[in-house]
Amino acid sequence: MIDIQILDTPLSVEQCRNYVAADDAGAIVEFIGTVRRQTQGKAVIRLEFEAYPAMALLEMRKIAEEAIVRFSILRVSMHHRTGILEIGAIPVVIAVSSAHRAAAFEACQFCIDTLKQTVPIWKKEIFEDGEVWVAAHP
């Protein structure tokens, strides 16, 4: 069972957890990304996330499907935020449930690692003296 959402409103970690909770689950592992106040020693004012929604939803679903095939997990919920995010806000939540905990840890880490490689979402860091699209340039 897979729940994929891209939202321009604050994410609910509880909603992701409630989705993956199941009577057969002994473990839930959640990854929650949060906006840091600095990156590489530089103060961040805010982040802006932009998505290509139709494709991002498809790519996120592929990741969740692969996680279910590769690991022995029950349910996956992946929510990603778009728009302006202040320090401490949550750009991404990934929740995974499984009978046993090792699979949930592996699958959750696989989902966030792969999301960062393949899902068409872009992050702009806004500093006091400028802004930069993350990872765009060498």
């Binding site: 966030i112 992050k123 765009a136 340039h137």
Partner: protein
């Protein structure tokens, strides 16, 4: 054929539009589009990567394009 190319993130900044219209010969593929755009916008060559998506899927350079496709330029992603 005239195709519309969706742009995002730094590619939208470079091209200064979210919808780029491009004239290509019929039978052009993904690599042809990329070459044309990199000539028109040399700043695209300086990106870490630039992939093309057709109908919301990454495609290989030899993928043929049709003017009915939804085509997008995908600069390096940085979600999460």
């Amino acid at each position: 054929m005239k195709i519309r190319v969706l742009t995002f993130g730094i590619v939208r900044d470079i091209t200064n539009t979210g919808n780029l219209w491009v004239e290509l010969p019929a039978g052009s593929n993904s690599a042809d589009l990329q070459t044309l755009l990199q000539e028109q916008f040399p700043a695209l060559k300086r990106l870490n990567s630039l992939r093309i998506a057709v109908n919301a899927e990454y495609v290989t350079p030899d993928t043929l394009l049709r003017d009915s496709d939804e085509i997008a330029l995908i600069p390096p992603v940085s979600g999460g």
